[in-house]
């Protein structure tokens, strides 16, 4: 019987060649009004010990708002045992209508030793047909990148905030993308963390009559948390990419010097403080200050545009949360390409 989100377990152990049959049985034995739903195949790969349980718990929450076929893979490539184990389960949640339970299937695999190489064939054999494949890669990318795997993936989700060597990892990701003939959309959760700060800053400039500020921004300050320097860098990269700024000097850890399209200098102060990925960004353009700061409650942004001779207009905007499930939900709600991300990365690649 499908498990509920409250009692997450890996589910029923099954033999690899019986997964389909056992899944069917799972549904035939289910009780009450249930509906199996799936919008995508979401494969989650990790080499961390205990990742199967942790990712099953994450998937139980993600499926509350994103029905999918979950394929959770725990890999131990260094293990001396060559072993493969599988489990099936389902995450059921009462739908918005309040009557029927909406259920997402999960197939979990533990791959150890040489069996890790079977990853592509295991993933492909368990896909819900005609639905896109999203691969959430939670480990370091390592060479050689398996072209057989990447050629099937529609979206590759990763978190560059965890990378120690951004450029080396990004090169591997780009290799994967090339292998897939550019079909893979690169989805960086570190970029997703910035969505609300991007929206908050963008809304100051929706009217074309505000666009002159793009040329007049002289300085800015971004405050980021410990281990979130790369997040702040991506934000700077985004501003630079979209506003046509060029980096002139990024040697200092505390300051980045850029040049705008009119060759005027823009200074961005980088301040590490607190534990929120980004806690504030302030930009100054002639006599106007554009300010975005995380509110005390933590899930709202206080946004303010202040002119020296006017009362500032304050507003609260959604801030999002730096939580794996929230970030994934945010990411899965978005479609489209990630050209802006790639442009932002390109701008600050040398500084990451």
């Amino acid at each position: 019987m499908p498990t509920t989100a409250d009692s997450v377990s890996l589910g029923l152990p099954v033999a690899i060649d019986r997964i389909d049959r056992e899944l069917k049985k799972l549904w035939s034995e289910g009780e009450g009004a249930m509906s199996r739903a799936s919008l995508m195949n979401l494969a989650v790969y990790s080499e961390e010990p205990d990742s199967l349980t942790r990712n099953t718990q994450l998937l139980a929450r993600i499926t509350e708002s994103h029905a999918c076929r979950g394929i959770v893979i725990g890999a131990g490539p260094q293990s001396k045992n060559d072993c493969i184990e599988a489990w099936i389960s389902a995450h059921c949640h009462v739908g918005r209508a309040g009557t029927k339970q909406v259920c997402s299937e999960q197939i979990s695999f533990l791959l150890e030793g040489a069996k890790v190489k079977l990853l592509p064939s295991i993933v492909f054999s368990q896909l819900d047909s005609d639905l896109p494949l999203y691969l959430w890669w939670q480990s370091k990318f390592a060479e050689p990148m398996d072209p057989q795997l990447w050629s099937w993936i529609d979206r590759l989700i990763y978190d560059s905030q965890t990378w120690r060597d951004f450029n080396a990892q990004m090169r591997l990701v780009e290799t994967a993308q090339r292998e897939a003939k550019q079909r893979i959309v690169l989805c960086d959760l570190n970029w997703t963390r910035l969505v609300h700060f991007r929206i908050a800053f963008a809304q100051f400039f929706d009217h074309p009559s505000s666009h002159h500020h793009f040329r007049e921004i002289e300085r800015g300050t971004i405050v980021f948390g410990e281990n979130f320097r790369s997040t702040a860098m991506l934000y700077v990269g985004w501003l630079a990419a979209q506003l046509g700024w060029e980096i002139r000097n990024g040697k200092s850890r505390d300051r980045i010097e850029l040049e705008n399209s009119t060759r005027r200098t823009v200074q961005i102060e980088m301040q590490e403080s607190g534990d929120a990925p980004i806690s504030s960004f302030v930009a100054h353009s002639s006599d106007i200050k554009f300010e975005i700061a995380l509110a005390r409650c933590g899930d709202l942004l206080e946004v303010c545009r202040a002119k020296s001779d006017q009362a500032p207009a304050r507003q609260l905007l959604p801030a999002g949360e730096n939580d794996s499930v929230k970030l994934m939900s945010e990411e899965l709600m978005r479609g489209g390409q990630r050209r802006v991300y790639l442009r932002a990365v390109e701008k600050v690649r040398a500084l990451l």
Partner: protein, 546 residues
């Protein structure tokens, strides 16, 4: 090439007017060019973001601010927009009504009802900020002085809150109040905006009760506001599923080639509700189901289903195509009305096993009332695409369940092969469920497992609620945002409304003529009168079972 928004929430998304705040006076150019400006000079920081640009700050003046619509729909919708970051902070609401009330009392009352009716839970911190944008202005609708003081108040709000002279007047009052309000707005100079600002008016239905009154209302409105300042709201068009009709038709290659008389046998549009008149007897007695539902909601749905592909997604391109559908509705002669239109009224019966009274026994209803609570129509569109394809509409109160849906019934497969020995095979039916349980289903034939060849219909079903965890915004959220952004796509244009009334009048006139067909009756809790079943049975068809 700029990146498209990461998720396009509606088919008009890319056309949104982007007007931010606050903007220094010296920066504001002529408002008439804003749409072009924002299209020509998009905000580069919006590229790739899934949210739409925030609209301009404005003062929203609600006439009838103490009424149900304001409390149940408008303020909760505005609160949700604010909570989602879709409103600029300067947006200000001024409630205009007769009863004396302070700003604080007004805010407290709205706080209570917003907590009750809001789509998302009301957060104290957001409400606290949002409620400071709510103000109350006490005046009789007929009192010119009340409008003069409104001018002063709005000017003061512009000064203090930065609404920049932009005004959105929302008519949530009774239709008979529209004329004095409009006249007084004009007398006070509120119908025109200062240079660089705008003034718009949103009018709630009913837009008249016949062609003459609609034309008169439009004339009165146009005396004060031009057509491009006028937004006639039909909340059905703000529903996600209604907007999805065009996406379904024009974003999927498989439907358009078969969306015509060659493949479609007929279409049914149903709007059923279990409720009776529920305290609206005063209005309903003078309207009836035909005016209350068919003239607006059902004809709008018909337009979306039957229209040709617009040349682009601009408001007028879409509305141009919609109005052609209404124009192409075949007018019946007075003596044909009885044959093709069924009018009926509910008698006592039961809904969900609870006894309910007859319409004539409802409070404030004339015991001899001839008002129809149910109407069924067989329509034809005189176009190449829809030549001789019947479109059956039915709408009724006190029906067994509440549901609004469109079903497209395809022609049967040829009587060869599997169909040779059985003429009872069902058709393929595509159902678009507007509410509740929004979604789309397709019925098709499948072989029953077994050694013999038996064929039965099966259903492929897509549910919004199952597939998308995120709740859709309320129709009023979408429509208010569109009006503030100057996007009239989801609002009815004058010619649409008048063409619809011209069609409805031909039926109403026949009903009030000397040879008017008699009113029929159906018990509450049934699916309508027998005559409605006969309407389809004459064509060899039957109503879809909901």
């Amino acid at each position: 090439m700029p990146e498209q928004p990461e998720r396009i929430r509606g088919w008009t998304h890319r056309l949104k007017v982007c007007v931010p705040l606050p903007v220094e006076p010296s920066e504001v150019r002529d408002v008439s060019t804003w749409l072009d400006m924002t299209k020509d000079q998009p905000n580069p920081l919006r590229e790739g973001l899934s949210t739409r640009a925030v609209p301009q700050p404005c003062a929203i003046v609600i006439f009838g601010a103490t009424g149900d619509l304001t409390h149940r729909k408008l303020i909760p919708a505005l609160y949700n927009l604010a909570a989602d970051g879709e409103l600029p902070p300067a947006v200000t609401v001024v409630g205009f009504a007769r009863r004396p009330k302070t700003d604080e009392e007004f805010r407290n009352q709205l706080g209570e009802t917003t907590r009750q009716f809001s789509r998302q839970e009301v957060r104290d911190d957001i409400w606290k900020t949002f409620s400071q944008s709510l103000f109350y202005h006490q005046s009789e609708f007929e009192d010119e002085g009340g409008y003069r003081s409104l001018v002063k108040r709005l000017d003061q709000i512009d000064e203090e809150r930065g609404t920049r002279g932009n005004r959105l007047f929302y008519f949530a009052a009774a239709p008979e109040q529209f004329e004095p309000i409009l006249k007084n707005l004009k007398a006070a100079g509120l119908n025109t905006a200062k240079k660089g600002s705008w003034a718009r008016v949103i009018i709630e239905k009913p837009f008249g009760r016949d062609l003459a009154s609609a034309q008169e209302l439009n004339r009165v409105v146009s005396n004060s506001f031009s057509e491009d300042q006028t937004y006639r709201i039909d909340h059905f068009l703000g529903k996600e599923t209604a907007q999805n009709i065009l996406v379904l038709r024009f974003a999927n290659a498989i439907f358009e080639p078969i969306w015509n008389a060659r493949y479609i046998d007929h279409i049914q549009i149903t709007a059923a509700e279990t409720l009776g008149v529920e305290g609206r007897a005063g209005y309903y007695e003078t309207a009836g189901a035909l005016r209350d539902m068919v003239q607006n909601h059902l004809l709008q749905l018909l337009c979306l289903v039957a229209m040709e592909a617009p040349t682009d997604l601009s408001a007028d391109s879409i509305r141009d195509e919609k109005v052609k559908v209404v124009r192409s509705l075949r007018r019946y002669r007075a003596d044909e009305i009885a044959k093709w239109v069924v009018r009926s009224q509910y008698t006592a019966g039961a809904i969900n096993a609870e006894p309910v009274p007859a319409y004539r026994e409802e409070e404030r209803v004339n015991p001899n009332s001839e008002t129809e609570t149910y109407v069924a129509l067989r329509l034809l569109l005189d176009t190449w695409r829809w030549s001789e394809v019947p479109i059956y509409l039915r709408v009724g109160k006190r029906l067994p369940k509440s549901a609004t849906e469109i079903s497209v019934h395809f022609k049967k497969a040829p009587m060869v092969l599997f169909n040779r020995d059985s003429i009872e095979h069902d058709q393929n039916v595509l159902v678009i469920r507007i509410q509740p349980d929004e979604g789309i289903s397709l019925r098709m034939m499948a072989k029953i497992p077994g050694t013999s060849l038996r064929i039965e219909p099966v259903k492929m079903d897509f549910h919004y609620g199952t597939s998308f965890g995120k709740a859709s915004p309320e129709a009023y959220e979408r429509l208010l945002l569109d009006a503030k952004s100057g996007d009239a796509t989801l609002f009815a244009r004058r010619d649409e409304v008048e063409e619809a009334w011209a069609f409805i009048d031909s039926i109403e006139n026949a009903w009030s003529g000397k040879d008017a067909p008699p009113l029929t009756f159906y018990p509450a809790g049934s699916w309508g009168p027998e005559e409605a079943d006969e309407l389809l049975a004459r064509d060899g068809r039957a109503w879809r079972r909901l």
